[in-house]
């Protein structure tokens, strides 16, 4: 329990460290995947990159806005912005697995401004407003759980199709961990009134998930460096 006390007593510092870690991981992933996208123009890579762009934006915006708007109604605004970008990240990650069913292989002109993403933006906005009106995170948790159940099913099917690719198994595990993190978030918020041990554990789980994503991306692009040197 001493560790939890220590973290809680220094939570502002840990919040900064947490934001920096997640922000940096997202930045690295966006950088690496953007390079691959610029070469291949592959839509799946594009949406995967966008997911981490939104994740990074969500965490960094929450921290930066939190520094300036601490009082009055502003915390609700900060929460709304955070929720909006987190939901967009969830949609983008799921869509990176599904895009082939909805658009031609050559893709569409803009991956951020098109009809499908307009619907996603609208849904994200509706969920953020509903949570604001209800004064909870319930609708976001529900949507994220649905999104990650869908992503789990798709990544499990992908893994089953190509059992030789051990990386697909790792990706499936990461998606399941993501789902567990959202379930834990829901439980801690709904039944344990944001109990600090629960919150800190979720933060640790989130960092682990982002590191696993980074490991996957770096691992794939490391081979590239070897090929360049070889």
């Amino acid at each position: 329990m001493y560790l939890y006390d220590f973290v809680w007593a220094n939570k502002e510092i840990f919040k900064l460290v947490y934001t920096l870690i997640i922000g940096l991981i997202c930045f690295l992933i966006v950088l690496r995947t953007h390079r691959l996208f610029k070469l291949s123009f592959h839509q799946g890579i594009r949406y995967f990159r966008n997911a981490f762009f939104f994740y990074g934006l969500a965490f960094v915006m929450r921290y930066i806005l939190g520094l300036y708007f601490l009082e009055g109604l502003y915390p609700f605004f900060i929460r709304g912005v955070f929720e909006f970008f987190l939901i967009m990240a969830g949609f983008s990650l799921l869509y990176s697995l599904l895009w082939r069913k909805f658009e031609p292989e050559r893709g569409i002109h803009s991956s951020l401004f098109n009809l499908r993403f307009a619907i996603f933006y609208l849904l994200a906005l509706i969920v953020a407003v509903l949570d604001y009106l209800w004064g909870s995170y319930f609708f976001m948790f529900l949507l994220q759980i649905i999104l990650f159940i869908s992503a789990s099913i798709i990544s499990y099917v992908n893994y089953k199709k190509s059992k030789k690719n051990r990386f697909l198994r790792l990706y499936f595990i990461v998606i399941i961990l993501n789902l567990l993190a959202w379930l834990a978030n829901f439980l801690v918020a709904t039944f344990f009134n944001w109990q600090r041990e629960g919150v800190i554990s979720i933060y640790v789980l989130n960092i682990l998930i982002f590191f696993l994503f980074l490991y996957g991306v770096m691992n794939a692009t490391k081979k590239q460096e070897r090929a360049e040197n070889g």
Partner: protein, 100 residues
């Protein structure tokens, strides 16, 4: 003749866009500069599809069209196209690893 499954037939019929691009660029690289007709045969595409891909590859500066004094046209690979070929395996791995 052995009957192929529906999935195999579909896979044999439809090459992925990235595979087509790789095949075209490989053909250009192997020949250093190649005439449009030869490249069309090498790409194994219909003339219509071939035109679309070639326009896309020129647009993305992966290949360039050279016209000599006798007005003969040939395609050659640009450094960007060469870079794509070198990193093709990485891109392919990335897509497969994440199921994208």
């Amino acid at each position: 003749m052995q009957q192929k499954s529906k999935r195999e037939q579909k896979m044999a019929k439809k090459r992925e866009r990235l595979d087509v691009i790789k095949d075209i660029l490989m053909a250009v690289r192997e020949n250093r500069s190649i005439k449009p007709t030869r490249l069309l045969y090498a790409s194994n595409l219909s003339p219509q599809m071939f035109k679309e891909y070639i326009n896309e590859l020129i647009g993305k500066s992966f290949i360039k069209l050279d016209i000599n004094k006798n007005e003969k046209k040939t395609f050659s690979l640009t450094p960007k196209g060469n870079n794509f070929l070198e990193e093709y395996r990485v891109i392919e791995n990335f897509i497969n690893n994440f199921g994208l």
